[in-house]
């Protein structure tokens, strides 16, 4: 009877260890997989450049009158 009990515990511990190590492995692998991707996303290098320059002020200045010597 005692032998059976010990074997039951052994089985439980081995299954539990297997499951916990499996979960740890999956989690760690996921972190390893996603870590560099998220790092790239947040990196300054990947910040987009807006090719549209703000020339509103220049246009406003251009609209203003400039006198020349001939006037």
């Amino acid at each position: 009877m005692k032998k059976n009990k010990i074997v039951g515990y052994f089985l439980f511990i081995s299954i539990f260890s297997f499951l916990s190590i499996f979960v740890y492995l999956v989690q760690k692998s996921y972190i390893n997989l996603m870590g560099p991707i998220t790092q790239t996303k947040t990196s300054n290098l990947t910040k987009p450049i807006d090719p549209n320059l703000d020339i509103e002020t220049i246009n406003l200045i251009e609209q203003r009158k400039e006198y020349s010597l001939d006037q």
Binding site: K28, L33, P36, T40
Partner: protein, 218 residues
């Protein structure tokens, strides 16, 4: 008698079989437990480093792919921005006329006299204060000099001139404006203008800006 004998002989056999069954069950449980333990051991010492390395490598490859795509997009945008910038560069003269990199007194004089002429005021004298070129201590570090105008004109012309100066392309600020009756001026005989009855004496002090430091950096 014979029957009881059979029973007594059969009991140890049944017990033996039961024990055998228990033993089999025990061995099976031990085998299962051992298998799990062995798998766990391999998982920890063989599969773990391999899986971690593989996932890290795949992650890095994907990150690099993403980075390459982003960089391509960025380079495309940069080319577009370069084109846009070269177009804006053509307008450098506009910026320079608004905020030149030197005092450019001549241009400021042309602006003031022409604006006044258009407003019906003939300016024959401009006072440039060259001794006190002001420098803004803020981040812009604009520099400026003052030009004083003192002239007799109609109120409407004076308003028109103020408007023209404030909306001129060259950055001109109105530091102070003083309007006085020509009669008072006549009495004090300090005025240098020749006012008529419907005219007022108007004195402006304009701040004309330029941006030396910024262009020096370029």
């Amino acid at each position: 008698m014979i029957q009881t004998n059979i029973f007594s002989k059969g009991r140890p056999l049944a017990e033996y079989l039961k024990k055998q069954r228990e033993n089999k069950k025990f061995i099976k449980t031990v085998e299962t437990g051992g298998t799990f333990a062995l798998i766990t051991f391999f998982l920890l010492f063989a599969i773990r480093p391999t899986a971690l390395t593989i996932s890290a490598l795949i992650g890095e490859i994907k990150a690099k792919e993403q980075m390459v795509a982003e960089m391509r997009k960025k380079i495309g945008n940069l080319v577009l921005a370069q084109d846009a910038f070269s177009q804006v560069q053509e307008k450098y003269k506009v910026i320079s006329s608004a905020l030149p990199d030197n005092a450019d007194y001549r241009q400021s004089m042309v602006q003031i006299t022409s604006a006044a002429k258009e407003s019906g005021i003939l300016i024959d004298k401009l006072n440039y204060d060259l001794t006190s070129v002001k420098k803004d201590t803020g981040p812009s570090q604009l520099e400026s000099f003052s030009v004083a105008i003192n002239k007799a004109a109609s109120f409407q012309s004076a308003l028109d001139l103020t408007d023209k100066l404030l909306h001129n392309r060259r950055l001109i600020g109105l530091e102070s404006i003083r309007i006085s009756s020509t009669k008072n001026e006549k009495k004090s005989s300090e005025s240098e203008s020749t006012p008529s009855d419907n005219q007022i004496n108007i004195s402006f002090v304009n701040e004309i800006y330029f941006w030396q430091n910024q262009n020096e950096k370029k």
